[in-house]
C-alpha cells in the first residue's frame, strides 16, 4: 500500500482502495506512543540574501512533523531548498519565520542530538581521517579509549580502515564522502540529517551502506531525515517520502511507504512506488524548466 497525501490540499490520505482517510491519523497510527513529534517544523520559511541586496525566498511555510524513530526521505528538484531545510533543522541557519521544535522545545542552536552529513563534506583538512571521525565524539566528551574503538568501528563500516592516518586531500571523492558518513554516524545522535550522502558512491558500496544504515536505524531507533535526488533510494529507505516544490520550496506531497523491510533497490515494488513519486517530481522539474525557458 502506498499512501499519498497532498499537503497543500485536504489533509487526507488515499488508502489502497482510493478512500480518503484523515492524514493525522494515518501519520500517528503506526506509532501511537509519540504524542509530541520528535521534530516539528512549524510554518518554516527562509530567505537568502542575494547579490543585489534583495532577499530570495528559498523555503516557504514548511509544516512537517517527524515522529521519533521515523526514516523520512526528502526529494525535490535541484535548488529547491532541501539542503536549506536540513540547515534549519540543524540550527545552522535561523528561519526567517516559523520555528523548528525538537521534542517540543524550540531549536535555536546546533546540538549533538542533530548531526548532519553535509552535501559538500565539510571535512577538516587539518585533521587526519581518524581525527575527523573522532571529532564529534571528542566534543561530546566521550572517553578516549571508547572514542578510538568507535572510530575504528565506523571507519571499517565505510571501508576506510586502512586510511585512518591519511589527510583529507589524499582521498578520492567517494572516500571523502564516506569519511563524512562515518563522522556523522560515529557521533550516534538522536536525529541524523543526511544530505545526499551516497551521491558519489558506486552502486555496490551504496547498497552495502543502505543495508548498514537501515540496520543501525532499526537497532537504535534513531530518527533520520535523508535528502536525496534518487527517488528509488528514497523509497528503498524511507518510512515516508516528502516531495518539495520548485522555488520557493514548499511541501508538495508526502508518501507513506509501508513496503515490508528489508527492501532492495531493484525490488519491483520499490521501483513501482518510485515511478509514482517520480511522476510527481517530474511535474515540479518541468515547472522549473518552464521558469528557465520562459525568460
Amino acid at each position: 500500500m502506498t499512501l499519498t497525501l497532498n499537503a497543500t490540499e485536504d489533509p487526507t490520505v488515499l488508502d489502497e482502495n482510493g478512500n480518503r482517510i484523515p492524514v493525522g491519523a494515518a501519520l500517528v497510527s503506526p506509532d501511537a506512543e509519540s504524542a509530541t513529534p520528535k521534530l516539528w517544523l512549524q510554518n518554516l520559511s527562509l530567505k537568502y540574501k542575494t547579490t543585489g541586496g534583495e532577499r530570495m525566498l528559498a523555503l516557504d511555510s514548511i509544516d512537517l512533523k517527524v515522529r521519533a524513530g521515523e526514516f523520512l526521505c526528502i526529494v525535490g528538484p535541484s535548488g529547491c531548498g532541501k539542503s536549506t531545510l536540513l540547515f534549519l533543522i540543524a540550527g545552522l541557519h535561523e528561519p526567517t519565520s516559523g520555528a523548528v521544535l525538537m521534542d517540543g522545545k524550540k531549536v535555536i542552536h546546533t546540538g549533538t542530538d542533530r548531526i548532519m552529513i553535509f552535501q559538500e563534506h565539510g571535512l577538516f583538512p587539518w585533521l587526519t581521517v581518524e581525527e575527523n571521525v573522532e571529532f564529534g565524539l571528542k566534543m561530546k566528551g566521550v572517553e578516549k579509549k571508547l572514542r578510538r574503538e568507535r572510530v575504528r568501528e565506523y571507519l571499517n563500516l565505510v571501508h576506510l580502515g586502512k586510511f585512518q592516518k591519511s589527510y583529507i586531500h589524499q582521498l578520492s571523492g567517494g572516500m571523502k564522502q564516506r569519511v563524512a558518513i562515518a563522522r556523522a554516524l560515529a557521533t550516534e545522535p538522536d536525529v541524523l540529517l543526511m544530505d545526499e550522502p551516497f551521491a558519489a558512491l558506486d552502486a555496490q558500496t551504496r547498497d552495502l551502506l543502505h543495508d548498514e544504515l537501515e540496520r543501525i536505524w532499526a537497532e537504535t531507533g534513531r530518527t533520520i531525515i535523508f535528502v536525496t535526488h534518487n527517488v528509488r533510494e528514497a523509497v528503498r529507505l524511507g518510512d515516508r517520502v516528502a516531495v518539495l516544490t520548485f522555488r520557493p520550496g514548499r511541501l508538495k506531497r508526502e508518501y507513506l511507504i509501508d513496503l515490508p523491510r528489508p527492501r532492495h533497490l531493484e525490488d519491483t515494488a520499490v521501483a513501482g512506488t518510485a515511478r509514482d513519486i517520480l511522476g510527481d517530481l517530474r511535474e515540479e522539474i518541468n515547472k522549473s524548466l518552464a521558469v528557465e525557458y520562459q525568460q
Partner: protein, 253 residues
C-alpha cells in the same frame, strides 16, 4: 643540493657586484665600505665578544617580548572573537594603533616602566602584539563558512569551537600574522633599545650610525639579516611546510 648551489651563486654574484662597485671608487670607503672591510668588522666584533653579547641580549629581549605578544595577541584575538561589543570597538582601535610608529610608545614606556628592561619589552610588545591579533581576526573572517558550520554541528561550542575549529581553520592566516609579528617585533626592538643605552644589536647599530661607521652599520645589518633568515627558515618555513603538507597544498606526486 641544487637550491643550495643556487643560493651560493646568488650571494656570490651580489658579493661580486658589490666588490666591483667598491673597486670603481664611486664612493669613498667610509660611505660605502668594501665587502672585505665588512668581513673584518664582523670578525672584530666576534673577536672582542661585542657581537655575541649584543646578539644574546637582543635575542633574549625578542624571545620574551615576542612570546608575550603571541600569548597576549592570541588572548586578545579570542576576546575579540567572542564578544561583539569588543569587536566593534576595540578592534578598530587596534588596527589604528598598529600603524603608530614605535617611537610614539617610547615616552609612555619610560613613564610606566622607568628605564628598565620592561620598557624595552613594552615597546616590542606594542609593536608586534597587534599583528597577531589582527591576523587571528582576519583568519576568522576569511575562513570558509563550512568549517565553522561542520564544527558547530558536531557539537563544538564556544571554547571548543574556537580551539578545535576556528583556530586551526585560520591557521594559514595566523602563521602569516606570526611572521609579520616577528618582523614588527624585530623592528620595534631597535626602537626600544634606543630608550637608553644598553647592550644589544640596536645599540651597535646606533653606535655605528652615530659614529658614521658604515662598516659597523653594515656588519650589524648582515647580522640582522642572518638572524632573520635563520628564524624564518627554522621556525616559520617549517610551520608553513607542515601546514601545506596537511592541507594538501604541495604537489601530490
Amino acid at each position: 643540493m641544487k637550491p643550495i648551489a643556487r643560493q651560493v651563486i646568488f650571494y656570490g654574484v651580489i658579493f661580486g657586484l658589490w666588490s666591483l662597485i667598491c673597486k670603481l671608487h664611486i664612493w669613498p670607503p667610509y660611505v660605502l665600505p668594501a665587502p672585505w672591510a665588512i668581513v673584518e668588522a664582523l670578525w672584530a666584533g666576534f673577536q672582542d665578544h661585542s657581537f655575541p653579547i649584543a646578539i644574546l641580549a637582543s635575542m633574549r629581549r625578542m624571545l620574551i617580548g615576542y612570546g608575550i605578544s603571541v600569548v597576549l595577541g592570541t588572548f586578545l584575538g579570542i576576546v575579540l572573537a567572542s564578544n561583539r561589543f569588543f569587536e566593534q570597538t576595540v578592534s578598530g582601535l587596534l588596527v589604528s594603533l598598529q600603524s603608530l610608529p614605535s617611537i610614539c610608545w617610547l615616552p609612555l614606556a619610560v613613564l610606566w616602566f622607568g628605564l628598565s628592561e620592561n620598557a624595552i619589552l613594552f615597546v616590542i610588545v606594542m609593536g608586534s602584539l597587534l599583528s597577531v591579533t589582527i591576523s587571528m581576526e582576519t583568519g576568522r573572517k576569511q575562513m570558509p563558512k563550512i568549517y565553522s558550520m561542520a564544527g558547530r554541528n558536531l557539537g563544538a561550542r564556544k571554547w571548543n569551537l574556537f580551539y578545535h575549529v576556528l583556530l586551526p581553520a585560520s591557521m594559514p592566516y595566523i602563521v602569516t600574522g606570526l611572521k609579520q609579528g616577528w618582523a614588527f617585533a624585530w623592528r620595534s626592538l631597535f626602537a626600544g633599545e634606543m630608550i637608553y643605552v644598553t647592550l644589544g644589536l640596536g645599540q651597535q647599530l646606533n653606535a655605528g650610525r652615530d659614529l658614521n661607521d658604515m662598516n659597523l652599520v653594515i656588519a650589524v645589518m648582515i647580522l640582522i639579516i642572518a638572524i632573520g633568515t635563520t628564524v624564518d627558515r627554522l621556525l616559520f618555513r617549517t610551520i608553513e611546510k607542515r601546514l601545506q603538507m596537511k592541507w594538501g597544498l604541495l604537489s601530490a606526486t
